[in-house]
Symmetry: C3
Subunit: 159 residues, 3 copies
């Protein structure tokens, strides 16, 4: 019969290593024909930001959040041993040497595999992000949509 | 037939933003008629502390834990960009501006929606907290009670 | 009838307190006859390292990771209030006073209860760890093996 399995991840973290873990699990699950959703909330939202600065009309606090948060996955720090940005460089060098996919490629792969990427609308509003700052192909939704996916899920994770 | 769905969250973190995420998911799930439990362990226990100091007979180490840990959700720091307490202020200002519920209100709402709030007895003992330091309406239980809730759960998260 | 319940934990964190939470849940679940797997990835892998230094032929970056990461659970720091290593000492003292099991004993107990301990092969390679640096009785596997366990799981957690 084969009912489809479902994997639903809340990606709260904005650390390079944790985002990488989320996307590796998501891509693995998609490869095994799971229906996969990543719900990006709080700092995890930064994984979906375009890496060029976008002109937008923002107030002072929104500008501050915009400056201080990393623009896109590639600019994120590590959860451990970040060493002012040296840690991510070490990890990226090592990944390159082992032919492991860097994070932006993992995100691209997830899109190609039809992983549903969702941005938490409440966080977008709170942090003053604009829709045009978020990469294409992302849906905007709230906790109700997350729960609708998660409540029938086989693998539910909060990362 | 409509069997009741279950959401069970282990709240380990004592960061304002993560606790907020936990309570937003919990309140959402309760609104969708899930049976919801939040099991507060380690630093997550601090979300349940009363915000006034409570007189209690404690030894030196217990007093130190008591002083160093935040008394209640409102005094917690952020997991990222805490900036010596300025980050939480920014977040709270922004939430107010967007009419988002501050964390203490989210906890009150959870109680009103009959979300079961559990304090991990082992952590209470380890950190030397006293039952009178914990807000009313909280159950005290251990990992066995958590597993009994979680093993039939639809949405299980560790935050 | 009694179909076996399953608990599957991704242990990403290398913090003493979080690793302890993972093993307490795992041991509890095993005591309730769950089939339990802990999949150690990224910093969580350090919980499985032998505590003596192992001679191995490594390049410079691999040596740096080897030096900087804790050798075994007992050398890990706390996720909060680490205070340059004083925090873990406080926690360990308090656990001793309450006759709570220290982390290395929790790991031993997990082995005795047949909790399946898995080391993420990709992380082992990336961090340049050698199989002889990992404690005995550990399996090496990838995200596919994790998903096979998790997709039928009752309790799935990312810690």
């Amino acid at each position: 019969m084969g009912e489809t399995k479902k994997t639903t991840i809340v990606l709260f973290s904005g650390d390079y290593d944790k985002v990488m873990a989320a996307y590796i699990i998501a891509n693995g699950a998609a490869a095994y024909d799971h229906e996969v959703t990543i719900f990006h909330t709080f700092w995890g939202l930064n994984a979906l930001r375009k890496d060029e600065p976008i002109q937008a009309d923002k107030n002072f606090i929104e500008k501050m959040f915009g400056w201080m948060m990393p623009r896109g996955a590639n600019k994120m720090g590590l959860s451990k041993m970040n060493f002012a940005g040296f840690g991510p460089k070490m990890i990226k060098d090592v990944m390159k040497k082992h032919n492991a996919m860097p994070l932006p490629d993992l995100i691209e792969l997830a899109k190609e595999q039809d992983v549903k990427l969702v941005a938490c609308q409440m966080t977008v509003d709170l942090l003053g992000l604009r829709q045009e700052e978020i990469m294409d192909g992302v849906e905007f939704a709230g906790v109700a949509a997350y729960l609708a996916d998660a409540e029938d899920g086989n693998v539910n994770l909060f990362i």
